[in-house]
Every structure is written in C-alpha cells, then in structure tokens.
C-alpha cells in the first residue's frame, strides 16, 4: 500500500451555522447525496480500498444507516470517532490516529467536491519525493444570490498569497494578506534558487494533502501544532529553505546543546523510507536537475520539498459556506448520469419538472406544479400549484398548495404553509412557515418565537 487515505469529517461547519445547527456538515445533502459521499467517491474512483474516516459519533451513526452510502461506497471505512467537545484541529486528529498510519498519507476534507484527476497531486508527490503536495484551484465566482445576505459579498476579503516557481508546481511561499501588513518579504537566497516566482492570489485551497509519514511523526513530537492548513503547511513551506534541515550534520554538531530539541524534530521530519539512499544515489548519478541557469544539484540540496497542483479548469468546490453550498448544488447534478427523477418518486403527469432539476426518491409531486433549476430531496411532499425555481429543498419537506419559492434553501422537515411566497430565504430544519407569508431575503431559523408570529 502506497498511500493511506484519511478523511477529515469532524468539522462543524462553523461558517454556515444556519445550515449545520442540526445536520452535521458531512451529512448535508448536495445533489441528494450526503456531502461526505463526494470525497469518498473521489477516493474510491482512484482505487482506494480502505479509508480512515475521522468523525463524530453522530455522523458515524448516520454512516452506518444511510442506504445510499452503503450501496455506493464499496471501500472499507475505518471510522474513528473523536469527541465533539474536544475542539480538535486537523493536525490533532492526525496525531490521534497516529497508530494506524503505516505509510504516507492522503488527507482529504469532507467538504471537497471536485473532479480533479487525483493522480496529478500524487504524481507530484512521487516524482519529487515531496514532503507535501497539495491541491489548489482557481476560485470560482459565486453567481447565485445568497439568502439572508445583504448586497454583494465584500471584495475586501483577505487574500492568500501563494508563491510558486516557474513551473507552477513547486510551492515556495504562502501567506495570508492579514499577516503581511509590513509588506511581502522574501529572502534573497530563495530568489537566487528560484529566480522567477509567480505570486498568485485568488486560489482556493482544496484541503487535500499528500504528506510523508514522517510528518505524522513530527506532529507527534510537536504537540503545539493543531491545524494542518493553519500551521503545519506554512511551517513546511518555510522549512524548505532553512539551513538546519539541509545541512544537518554541520548544524547538529555545532548547535547540539541549544537546539537539541529542534534538531530532533528535524530528524523526525527527514526520517524517510528505506529507499532514500537509493533515490539519493540515482540523483547523484543522473544529470537531471530541477532548475535552469546553473549546474548545482537538483533541488539545491534541499531535502524538504512542497509542491502544489493548481487546477486550471474543472470543478473544485469546498462546501464550507452557504454560498458554496448553493453553488455546489447547482453544479453537481450535471455530473451524474442518474436519471434526474428518482424512479421511486411519484411525479404527477400534469406537473412540470425541468431537466435541470433533480427529484429524490419517495417524493410526491402533485398536479400543476412547476420545478426549475432546483434540487428536491427524498420524501418531500409538494402539493398542487407550487412553483419552485432556483431552490434547494432538502429531505422530508412539506410544501402546501400555491406556494412560490424562489432562490431559497429549505432545510430538512420544514413545512411551508399554503400560498407562502418565499424569495431568497433560508428556512432552517423543522421550521414552519405560516400560510400566505411573504418573505424576502431572510434567514428563518432557530426556536426563537419571533419566527412564530
């Protein structure tokens, strides 16, 4: 086994609480499948037979009951539960399952929906014997109106600056705009090794990482690292160019006393597979090097290397905000070859269901209903003369006669009263919208009485 897959599915979805307050993020329906299905499918398609899923108790229960997951996913799921209250970061989670990790790992986040050719990332990892290789993609502009959001999204968001070399593969620099108020500072020695650096902004980190096994050992020794994206990756990127790592012998002797700790960790980072000596020999004997302009050895002798695959085209979403959730729901159905209307759904002959919509199983759709560009989940009942456009209806929703729903998200088990007119709203799970209500651009959630007029 070359790579072990680890799926991080314990996140609470803190950036879209309105959706996740009683449906855990991995189980949110996207195109009538739970979100977690997408990364699992991604892994299964490339031939993984086993995956370690780190998640919460609640999700575990759902995983074992969800029919669709059972039939679709043939992989062996090794589910590891962590306590929700523990507030563990992704790196903490890796530390938690350290015993299970025998080889290099592929870490995937449960909110990733992509059609990337996964081998691109893994090939970088293999070809350069990299310590880290990761996936990024051009940020997609969200076009849909987001319920409850006033106006357009502010442009002044903090951008991530990602520096890559001229091939666009080697990751040289990574920082968030927020940390750069002093300006962007680069060491000249880096520029000397990589004289042409592309600084890109507007990239989405897909949170998909290939990591050397030694990185996990490193995490075990460095308990202070809690998050992969927040701390580990920037650390590795920076470490690529630090001298202590690259000329270990020299520094180890001279600074043994003060830096024993540090050197020890470095050792951990570098302890590589038994093939390393062979690879080293191959590199010495070969005239190949990874840069132009001078004849120094490949990678300038650096042992720690980070790479990134940047998707120029194709689809890559991280469903971690409401806007991304809506966008993903719009795009995803186009990828399936399943019939848009589930065979077990009851759809009246006299209703109009657009081909750009999908209807889940056991739905009941009555006469003179029109559904366009919308997703309707399982066991939803839609009564007569309902008009639904551009909306996401989750499971078990009841929509009474004569409703007009536009650009909205209706969560599980909500009930929409007769003749209600809902535009660009988010209706939380289990909520009731009273008959004849007119709502525009609102978020209807929670048990607060204000909603129950």
């Amino acid at each position: 086994m070359e790579l072990q897959a680890v799926l991080m599915a314990a996140g609470g979805g803190s950036r879209m609480m309105d959706l996740t307050y009683n449906t855990p993020k991995p189980l949110l329906p996207v195109g009538n499948r739970p979100l977690i299905w997408y990364p699992l499918n991604l892994l299964e398609k490339v031939g993984f037979e086993e995956v370690i899923v780190i998640t919460t108790k609640e999700v575990q229960k759902a995983l074992s009951t969800d029919q669709r997951l059972k039939t679709d996913v043939k992989m062996r799921l090794d589910v590891v539960c962590i306590q929700e209250e523990a507030d563990m970061g992704t790196a903490d989670a890796l530390r938690h399952i350290q015993q299970k990790i025998k080889t290099d790992i592929l870490v995937v986040s449960c909110d990733l929906i992509t059609d990337v050719a996964l081998h691109e990332v893994v090939d970088l990892f293999r070809a350069h014997s990299a310590t880290l290789s990761m996936l990024m993609s051009k940020v997609h502009e969200f076009t849909e109106t987001v319920p409850g959001q006033k106006g357009k999204k502010k442009a002044g968001e903090q951008r991530d600056f990602v520096g890559v070399d001229v091939t666009g593969k080697r990751l040289l620099f990574m920082a968030n705009e927020a940390d750069l108020d002093e300006g962007l500072v680069l060491r000249k020695s880096i520029m000397r090794k990589h004289p042409r650096m592309l600084i890109k902004t507007g990239l989405l980190d897909a949170h998909l990482y290939c990591l050397k096994r030694s990185v996990v050992d490193f995490l075990v020794h460095n308990k202070s690292v809690t998050s992969i994206r927040g701390e580990l990756v920037p650390y590795l990127v920076r470490k690529q160019f630090s001298k202590t790592l690259n000329s270990q012998n020299a520094t180890e002797d001279s600074e043994r006393n003060q830096k024993q700790q540090d050197a020890h960790h470095n050792l951990e980072l570098l302890s590589t597979s038994k093939d390393e000596a062979l690879l080293q020999l191959a590199r010495e004997r070969s005239c190949w090097n990874d840069h132009r302009g001078d004849m120094s050895e490949a990678y300038h002798g650096g042992k720690l290397r980070c790479y990134v695959h940047i998707m120029e085209e194709g689809m890559c979403y991280r469903v971690n905000t409401l806007a991304a959730y809506i966008e993903a729901n719009r795009v995803v159905p186009k990828l399936f070859e399943d019939p848009p209307i589930h065979p077990a759904a009851v759809v009246s002959e006299r209703s109009l269901v657009g081909s750009d919509s999908i209807i889940g199983q056991l739905c009941h759709i009555s006469d003179r209903t029109s559904i366009k560009r919308s997703n309707v989940g399982t066991s939803t009942i839609i009564k007569e003369k309902v008009k639904i456009t551009n909306s996401i209806i989750m499971n078990g929703v009841t929509i009474e006669e004569g409703c007009n729903i536009q650009g909205s998200v209706i969560c599980n088990n909500a009930v929409i009263g007769r003749g209600a007119d809902i535009k660009y709203c988010l209706v939380g799970s289990g909520q009731r919208v009273e008959p004849e209500a007119e709502r525009t651009n609102e978020v209807i959630v929670g048990s607060d009485q204000l909603m129950e007029i």
Binding site: E182, G183, L184, K188, I199, L245, D294
Partner: protein, 702 residues
C-alpha cells in the same frame, strides 16, 4: 503652462501620424561615472575597443539593424574624439540608413540633463529608443515596440516606457552583480510594479500596495538583466524636465513607480529570451561581453562580419573561434587554443599559448608568452616569457620580459612594466598620477584636452616607483578604489565591478537563525533580526559618539535615522537605548568587573548622554518603559544590583526620570520572584524611602 499645453498637443498630434515618423533613438555616449578610470582619462568609454571595434559602433549597429533611422548622439566627456570617430565611420556616409546627429555639450552631468535637453530642443517626435553608448546587443526590438505602441493606443499616454530585459538567472555569466535587480510585475499586463537593486540586501521587501492592482497573478523576477535599452514615449523627456531632480534612469523609474497613482504613468517590460543585450558597465562586464562576442552569442554581430565596414578589419574565422585579421604572423610552436581574435599586422613569437584572448592591431608578442582571458589593445609590445591572466592592456603599453600579471590587472595607456616583476591581483597602472584626479575633481567633466597637458606637467614632477612598475617601468599605481572615500552613496565602485565577497556564507547564517525559530514564530521573524541589528547600530553610534565627541543632538539624529531604517517603534528605541547604555561598560571593559567599577564607568556616560535620553523619555509611559527595560537588564546581571540605585539616582538627578515614575514602577506588582527580590534590595529601599520623604517634604512646602 502655455508651453506645457503646447507640448501636449504636439505629442498628441504625433500619436496620430505615428506611422509616418521614422524611428528615432537617443544614444548617450557618456557614462557619467568614472568606473573605467584611469582608462577613460585618455579615451571616452564609448570608443574603447571591444573585440577590436569601438563600443559605440556596436550600439549604432544595433540601432540601425532594429530599424532606427535617426540617432542623436549626446556626448560630453571628450566629445571631440567621439565626433571625430563618428565622422570617419560608416554612419556618416551618405548611404547610411541611419542619420547620426552628434550633439555635444560640456554641461551634461547626467542622463537627466541629456533628456531635458532633448525636451528643450524638441528633438523627438514620437516614441524613441534610449540607449547608452556602451550597449552591445542584437535584440530585435520591433516586437517590443509594437507592444509599446499598442499599449499606448489602448490607454492614451499611460505607459510611458518599456524597458528591455534579457533573461539571465543568478549564476549566469552575464548577470552583472551591480545590476542585481529584482522586479515585480503584473503577470498579465507585464507592468512593472516594483523595481529594486538587490545587492547587499538579504531580504527583499515588497510593499503591499503593489499587490492591490486588481490582478490575481504577480511575478517576481530575479533572473533579469537590464539591457539598458528602453523604448520611451516623448513624455519621458517631458517628465525629466518637470522633475529636475531626476538624474538617472533609476531615479526616473523609481519616481514613476512611487508616484504612479498621482501621475498615472506606467512602465512595462519586455523580456527577450534569445536576444543578447548587455551594457559594458565595468571591466567584468567587458570581459563577459567580449568573450560572448567571440563565442558568437551576438550573431549576426560577429568579429568576421566587419559590420563597422572599416578597411583591413575583415578577418577570417576558423575552428574553435579563432579569428585572424590580415597580416598576422604566428611563430613556430605557438598555439591559439580557442576564442582568440588577433588584429592585423600583429606578430606573435614562438611557443606562445593563447586562449580566450583579444589582441589588437600592430602588436608585437614575444616568445614563450602565455595569455589567458587577456584584452590587448593596439600597438602593444609584450616581450618574452610573459604570463598574463584576465587583464586589460591598453594602447602602446610595453610589457618587458618575464613579467607576470595576475588576475584583474589593468595597464592603462602608454604604461611600461618590467622587467622581472610580478604584479599582484587587481593592480591598476596608469601614466596619470592618482592624485591629479583629486586636484581637478571639480571640473573633471568639463576639462578636456587641456587637462591632459596639464597632468603631463605634473607627472614630470613625480617619480615612478620601481617596486610597483619594475626597474624600467613607467606608470603610477592606482589604489584599488574600494578604499576611496565613498562620498557618493553608491557602493564602493571599482573598475572591475563589485568585489564579491562570497556571501553565501553570511546568507546561510541567517538561514540557520531562521531555522531556529520554531513553529511558534511567525514568518514575521525578520523583525527580530532587525531589532538585533538596530541594537548593534545604536551601540556603534554611541561608541563613535564617544570616540569622536559627537554632540548629543547629532546622536539623536543618527538614532532617529536608524529607527526609520530598521522600522523600530519609538518604544523599542528607548528600550534598546537603555539596554545599550547600561551594557556599555561591559562591552568596553569586559563582563568581569566589580559593581563599583561598573557604576564608575556608567555614571559619566549617563551624564554625557542625558540629552539623548531626554529626547526619548518624555511621557510618563516612557518613564515606565525605560524603568522596565532597566529592570530587565539588571535582572540578567544579579551581581550588579547595587548599581541600580546609583543609576536610578543619577537618572533622577539628571531629570530624566521623575519620582512619580519611579514610585509607580516600584509599586508595580512584579510577576517574577526575581524581580520581587530586586525590589527588596537594601539600597533600592533606601532610595525609595528617600524619594518618599522628599516628596512629602515638597508637598509640605506647598
């Protein structure tokens, strides 16, 4: 105002009928620096031979081949010689496709002056090329020119200049270490956002505002060589007029980038991949460009092409890049290994070994001579058994037998060396005495031929030193100019270019130090270094202040400027100042000194520098900070706690600290056990008590 409006309307008109205008060029045949001294004392740089052809001919050939039809040559230093040269050259023949106008003035002191004159004389009508007289290039700029025009048509008069660069990554031979530039550009529009020379910098700093241009891809390039060829729009000349403080193109580029938002002008760049372009800005570049010429990197400009069309210059090209002009005679057993160019009627003796060398016309080389990477100009005599490596030997030099020239020697015009002498690395010999230069420092640009006559008189008064030039030698040794007082804020310029101390070492140090910051520390760690450096600098400043008796006002001035240089906050300045002063005696006398010695050293210093402190300690908060950092210093040196009272006392008496401040500090709940211990110190308690009493009594007085 009216004049400016007139100019604008003129330039607008020029845009319309751009097609009709022939391409013009401004060639600056003066370097406005003295990098080639003492060689350029006798010959202007543009006329120095490179592979036996004057450099200005390369530049003119480049301009003509790229389609320039009218060239204005601006000369200043030894303009008559340049004029004479051009009049004899093919450029002034009636058949020349490129009309050359020579404009001379003794008043040009910089590129800025030249361009202001271009504007004043209204010479250019449309986009023009700006080059120096020492640029060697075969770049076809037509594509860049087209892009430039497109940009200008798209966005009226926003892009004023397109700079031409050649790819030359670090480690490449043509990378001129002085022009170690780093450029940040917009990935799509190729607009220059940041332009900086990076030598002597370890960290490259890019202000954030350059990333706010709306693009999502930027490129930082450290692999570019400035060819010193720029396509300028007529506004460039106007901008030089408007900004009379712009002296060099560097000033211009920097000024434009800084004021971009105000003026709305942009600079773009064009990178050539396969063209060759370089400016011979020092002898190292001279070496590089010469050897590139011989190795045919500047094709079609090659030695055998005889592009300057001078009689007798035609030479043959044979294997291993050996070129021979007519009339060359080679002695028995002599070997021309590779990359050799030998001028006409030169005679070479027997058993010589010559490689990577250019020899001018009418030279005589003796037997058993070894030459490697040597540039020998015309009418040079080299006797037997001479060995020369990487040196420049100018016209009419005589090298007597058994002379050895080590790397980077320069023998300027008419020098005689030898016999039996070995010149150490980097020797520069000239018939001009180095001191005469200083005498005429003021008007050296103005002085022309009369200067030479003048100096000859002087030379007679001085005697050649046989230890420097050999028993029959003639010439004076020039000190390597790195010793020069560097009044110019430029780096120590020496004729061979920068002295490159192997800085990978120092670099690695910083890397090690960075490596030691562990995870916790953010990438912002450079600040740490800055603080450290700042502390050292402050220490140095104070030390100098002590040695040279500098007044406190000036010290404050220096510290303030350091503060800005290292971007240190005022609070930190004070903390560091306190630390430096308190540790000053240790630095001077060594750490092993008794408390009594320490305070006896420190107290006079405190008194001396009291005004410096007063400048930084003003508000009550400052006093607390000051006290806190004093505490910090003393906590590290437990043995000297007794001195703390004396320091406090004297600071109190010097009115740097006030009793409220001291009391407040004393009462502060100290966090660590050690600092509590410090506060329980006997002497300190007495002092505090005394302070309290003084306070009470003063209150009583009221």
């Amino acid at each position: 105002m009216a004049g400016k409006a007139g100019r604008q309307s003129r330039s607008r008109k020029a845009d319309k009928d751009e097609e009709e205008h022939p391409l013009q060029a401004v060639l600056v045949a003066d370097s406005f620096n003295r990098r080639f001294f003492p060689i350029t004392k006798d010959q202007p740089r543009a006329l120095l031979p490179l592979a036996n052809v004057s450099m200005i001919d390369y530049t003119l050939e480049f301009l003509t081949s790229t389609g320039v039809q009218e060239t204005f040559v601006f000369c200043c230093w030894m303009s008559s010689k340049i004029k004479e040269h051009l009049q004899k050259s093919k450029w002034c023949r009636p058949t020349s496709p490129n009309v050359v106008h020579v404009i001379t003035s003794d008043l040009y002191r910089s590129l800025g002056d030249v361009l202001r004159d271009v504007d004043a004389k209204a010479l250019v009508r449309s986009d023009f090329l700006l080059v120096y007289g020492d640029v060697v290039s075969n770049i076809d700029v037509s594509q860049a020119l087209q892009e430039h025009k497109q940009r200008r048509n798209m966005d009226k008069n926003v892009s004023v200049m397109t700079m031409i660069f050649k790819e030359s990554p670090p480690g490449h031979k043509t990378r001129c270490e002085e022009d170690d530039i780093i450029v940040a550009i917009d990935g799509k529009s190729k607009r220059i956002l940041h332009y900086q020379r990076a030598q002597a910098l370890k960290r490259l700093h890019f202000p954030m505002n350059i990333f706010h241009s709306g693009s999502d891809e930027f490129e930082i390039r450290f692999d570019l060589l400035d060819c010193h060829i720029s396509i300028c729009s007529p506004q460039v000349a106007e901008l030089f007029t408007d900004n009379f403080d712009y002296q060099t193109r560097n000033d211009f580029v920097r000024g434009l980038l800084v004021n971009e938002e105000i003026l709305g002008n942009q600079i773009h760049l064009h990178v050539t991949k396969d063209g060759y372009g370089a400016r011979v800005s020092n002898l190292l570049m001279y070496d590089t460009v010469s050897s590139d010429t011989i190795r045919r990197w500047i094709y079609p400009i090659t030695p055998e092409a005889n592009f300057s069309d001078q009689e007798g210059q035609s030479c043959t090209h044979s294997r291993h890049n050996v070129y021979r002009e007519p009339g060359v005679s080679l002695g028995h057993g002599s070997l021309m290994e590779e990359n050799v160019l030998i001028g006409r009627n030169t005679v070479i003796g027997a058993n010589c070994t010559i490689s990577n060398t250019v020899i001018g016309a009418n030279c005589v080389i003796g037997d058993n001579v070894t030459l490697d990477r040597v540039y020998i100009w015309n009418r040079v005599h080299i006797a037997d058994d001479v060995k020369v490596t990487q040196s420049v030997i100018c016209d009419n030099v005589e090298v007597k037998h058994r002379v050895v020239l080590n790397e980077q020697c320069v023998l300027a015009y008419n020098v005689v060396v030898g016999p039996d002498i070995t010149l150490p690395e980097g020797t520069v010999l000239s018939m001009h005495h180095p001191d005469e230069e200083d005498d005429e420092d003021e008007d050296e640009f103005l002085s022309d031929d009369n200067d030479v006559g003048h100096s000859k008189d002087k030379a007679k008064q001085k005697v050649f030193n046989p230890a420097e030039v050999g028993s029959e030698g003639k010439g004076y040794r020039w000190k390597s100019s790195s010793l020069d007082e560097t009044e110019e804020d430029e780096l120590a310029e020496c004729i061979w270019g920068l002295v490159l101390n192997a800085d990978p070492e120092s670099d690695s140090e910083s890397e090690v130090s960075e490596g030691s910051h562990d995870l916790g520390s953010h990438p912002a760690s450079p600040e740490l270094d800055d603080v450290k450096v700042f502390q050292n600098e402050v220490h140095g400043t104070l030390q100098r202040g002590l040695d040279e008796n500098i007044t406190c006002d000036n010290l404050v001035l220096e510290i303030n400027s350091l503060k800005y240089a290292y971007n240190i906050s005022l609070q930190e300045v004070m903390q560091i100042l306190v630390r430096v002063v308190l540790e000053f005696p240790f630095q001077q006398q060594g750490a092993q000194m008794s408390t009594a010695q320490y305070s006896s050293h420190l107290l006079p210093l405190l008194k001396k520098w009291a005004p410096v402190f007063k400048n930084y300690v003003k508000r009550p908060q400052d006093q607390l900070d000051c006290l806190a950092s004093m505490e910090e210093v003393f906590l590290e040196r437990e043995a000297h706690w007794a001195a703390l009272v004396k320091v406090l006392m004297s600071m109190y008496q010097l009115e740097i600290l006030e009793e409220e401040g001291i009391m407040h500090w004393f009462k502060q709940s100290s966090s660590t056990e050690k600092s509590q211990q410090l506060r329980r110190n006997q002497g300190l308690l007495k002092f505090i008590q005394w302070l309290q009493e003084a306070e009470e009594s003063s209150e009583g007085d009221e």
